[in-house]
């Protein structure tokens, strides 16, 4: 949290510094008595931006009152602005003023009630409120709302007209399934909430919305099932979100990085998904979902290791097939991290283990190859990483061609030129394909990094290095926690009950339809339920487990 506090300090500094474009005069920007003055202030604040749409009107029929509707074009829904805001102002205010013929427009008692009356009697928009705070008004305009300024009134009516161009709900691009729902989250937080609500029509589904980021003011929604998600988990998540002090939040990754338990690990400890069905399922299992405006990727926490091997499709397919697919995924993770290193250890250290016939084959392949096996592997793995990166970044039309052409042509050419042994290409290709078999992309990346560590260990120490590496890896993983839940749960600590949906997916009828969904934190004995991340709340010994805290104290 150290970096957070630093940033906070910077923010404070930034706030106090004069802004460019702001008049150096002593008059602070704010709502003024006259509409013209207020508009000027708004324009100054936004630096005279041309997308600021100001519509000056006169309302109240004969008793004309100066008014203005302000919104940002593109952000606001033009139809809503035209029809409901301007329409109601121009059409319905007349009678309002007629009713008030007895009183003078300039009498001070009525000034406050006029906007109130407009609000309650004229406005046709569903969302409208009276706001006096300058900052809030500006934020509303920047979010796409329309502000209505009235002559002689130091408050503005804010109408919810957010809209503008948005991507339609479409099939998610990252987590594809053969069978299952095809809708995916979009960039709009409201749509995303709706997508989840549509699946869980329960009053227990609670929603909390925060605005984070001192510049971006991003809407961050936190959803959970009241009564299913543990209270302390919700509190913990809320606390951590509230402690975020960052100027900009453009993607859920920003938040993920700041609220995860431990920063120094390749493993993701928070799950992300683009699929509403996955989010809904996790909500029902007692997890907390965090939706960030501006990204279709939604965070799910706490996340344990096994979760990254689950795919939405597991629940659409028969359980036996699902079990098989899961096992294949775990296997492919093993192949991914150990494949090249085991090959290296076998050929350079433990050749006696290779069946004789195969050994002769390998030997004849290696006969005229210039590089040692380790260098060869490193070269090929790097080349493969480049190919993969190129394939991702390329425009979609040629991206696939590049990866196919790259893999096939390069692989063949390199073998034919006698630079690399064919078996090496097989090994590298296998690990590459294995990394694609994992349903979670971030887990695949973690595996790819770890693979290189194992490669080095194997090149120096053979199987000894691999075994020690495995011990270290498991130790590292079991020291990880995600919001207090041990990362390797339910393997370590072992929970038979928790194994309903990890290595195997038990059939639904076995889980029992009436039983509440698995709640990880409740299945664990108390002494394991230690949360991390907040120094004050930490039990003394866990603090030692949490690296960041310790370093803070040391410094």
């Amino acid at each position: 949290m150290k970096s957070g506090s630093n940033r906070k300090a910077q923010n404070a500094g930034a706030d106090s510094a004069p802004r460019p474009g702001q008049p150096q005069g002593s008059v602070p920007l704010g709502l003024a008595d006259t509409v013209a003055q207020s508009l000027l202030h708004i324009q100054t604040e936004l630096g005279g931006s041309p997308d600021l749409q100001i519509r000056r009107i006169q309302i109240g029929g004969e008793r004309r009152l100066e008014a203005a509707a302000v919104h940002l074009s593109g952000l606001a829904d033009p139809a809503a602005v035209n029809e409901f805001v301007l329409g109601s102002l121009l059409n319905h205010t007349e009678e309002l003023f007629l009713d008030r013929t007895d009183g003078g427009a300039d009498s001070r008692g009525e000034e406050a009630s006029l906007p109130q009356q407009i609000l309650s009697r004229a406005m046709e928009t569903g969302e409208a409120l009276l706001q006096e705070e300058w900052k809030e008004i500006m934020l509303a305009i920047l979010s796409g709302d329309t502000a209505i300024l009235l002559e002689g009134c130091r408050a503005a009516i804010l109408c919810g007209t957010r809209g503008g161009e948005q991507r339609a709900v479409s099939e998610p691009t990252s987590q594809l399934v053969v069978r299952g729902p095809k809708d995916g989250f979009v960039e709009s937080v409201a749509t995303n909430i709706a997508l989840i609500r549509r699946r869980i029509k329960s009053a227990k589904l609670h929603l909390e919305v925060l605005k984070l980021g001192s510049e971006t003011h991003t809407h961050v929604a936190m959803m959970y099932m009241k009564g299913i998600a543990g209270e302390d988990l919700i509190r913990e998540a809320r606390d951590r979100l509230n402690k975020i002090a960052l100027n900009e939040i453009l993607e859920s990754g920003y938040i993920e990085e700041l609220i995860q338990d431990k920063s120094f690990t390749p493993f993701p400890t928070i799950y992300n998904t683009e699929r509403p069905d996955v989010a809904a399922g996790n909500l029902l299992e007692g997890r907390v979902v965090i939706i960030v405006d501006g990204t279709p990727f939604v965070l799910i926490l706490p996340a344990v290791f096994t979760q990254f091997f689950q795919s939405a499709e597991d629940y659409s397919q028969r359980f036996d097939i699902a079990i098989l697919m899961r096992l294949v995924r775990y296997l492919s993770f093993l192949v991914l991290i150990l494949g090249p290193s085991v090959y290296l250890a076998l050929t350079t250290y433990h050749y006696e283990m290779i069946p004789t016939t195969l050994l002769i084959n390998l030997l004849s392949q290696r006969e005229n190859v210039p590089f040692p096996a380790f260098v060869e592997l490193l070269l090929m793995e790097t080349a493969f990483e480049i190919l993969r990166e190129a394939g991702v970044r390329m425009p979609r039309a040629i991206g696939q061609t590049v990866s196919v052409v790259g893999a096939l042509i390069l692989g063949t050419a390199v073998v034919e030129a006698g630079i690399i042994t064919p078996i090496m290409v097989i090994v590298v290709a296998l690990t590459g394909i294995a990394s694609f078999a994992l349903p979670a992309y971030n887990m695949a990346i973690a595996g790819r990094i770890i693979r290189f560590a194992f490669l080095i260990m194997a090149s120096i120490f053979g199987f000894y290095g691999i075994t020690l590496g495995l011990i270290l890896l498991v130790a590292h993983m079991s020291s990880l926690r995600s919001f207090g839940v041990p990362y390797l749960f339910p393997f370590v600590p072992l929970s038979i009950k928790g194994h309903k949906d990890t290595l195997f997916r038990m059939p639904l009828w076995l889980n029992g339809a009436d039983k509440p969904p698995a709640q990880m934190r409740e299945e664990m004995p108390d002494y394991m339920l230690l949360t991390t991340g907040h120094e004050e709340q930490l039990p003394p010994l866990i603090r030692k487990n949490c690296r960041t805290e310790e370093e803070n104290r040391e410094e």
Binding site: Y351, T356, I360, N361, L362, L363, S364, R366, F374
Partner: protein
Amino acid sequence: MRNRIFGGIGVLFVLPMLLLTGCWDSVELNRRAIVSGVAIDRGDSEAERYKLSFQVIVAEEISGEKSRGISPVALYTGTGRTMFEALADASRQTARFLSLGHVRVLVISEKFARAGIKDLLDVLERESDTRLNSLIFISKGQPAREIMSTMTVFSKIPANDLVEKLETTSKQFGYNFRMAVDDVIRGIQIRGGGPVINGVFTRGEWTPASGSNDSLKSIEPRSILRVSSLAAFKDDKLKGWLTGDAALGTVLLHNRIKEFPVLLKQQEGGYFSFNIYQSQVSLAVESSDPEHPVFTVKITQQAALKEAPHPLDLTSPKVLEELSDRLIKESVKHIQAAVSTAKELGSDYLGFGRALQRKDPRGWKKVRDHWEDVFADCEIRFDADVVIRHTDMRSNSFQIH
């Protein structure tokens, strides 16, 4: 934070050092010369006490694309006063590390075996690279290196060919069985007995030409490796060769045979053929007097009629009963032959002593020092049961009508 930076820098320094100087045990595959078989001969002088010939696989010739048409294996010979010195001597001749991890065959010359093999076995079990599963052969009547330098038809690597031949004979119609290094070591430790090791020899005269591809160019190869006979040892010295009934009986007593053919002669001339399978032989001991133990050999076998070119009524249980009785006699004959040969050679390689030890360890202690003598005149009884399960796809022969 500072700690982590220092840690990171430390790793950055140590890692290249390890990568550059490390990899102590790492040997690239193309730096290895894989040995498939070793021949052990006795040289003439003391400096050539051991003469080791290593059959090294030339992998490129076997599966490479750029083969030069040379021999798929190469033989390197080293000599020395010890096995290790001979190995070192041979390594100096090869460009690569002689790697013993894939040695599948060890051939010891008969001359060597007669002088005693215990010294060479020590290095075989001590060295961590060699495997206990390597098969041991004794080259019958010729130097072991000739066996290792005979070109074979079915496998490009002669050592593998030898292994396959042994496996085929042990599964079908042969009395040879897998005899690995540890079996031999255990065999040597049998008090008053010794191991039994497979014999191998070349059929047809061995000439230097047998080691070239030319030998295989004719339909009938000039020399063929043949796995046959059993070398019977007393302690670590070769005492004699077992063939025929004696060899078969020996293997039966070791329970190492899967199936074998038995012929019964018919009075009218001609033979019956049986295939015996699922043969179980066990030893029971009665040792009220350890000096004169009485062994009972229990035999249970199953037989299938394979050939019956006679007008005999094979549908009658009586006839089959009669045939089984004759089969029993045949089995007893095999084992009797084995026992009498063993007694002649003065070596209990059949495991009678072990059986006594298991049954009556105290009695065994009294006789173990002169077990040879006790064995020579112990009494052996038989309790055999052979069943002819079926007569295969026909009942009576067509000759019956």
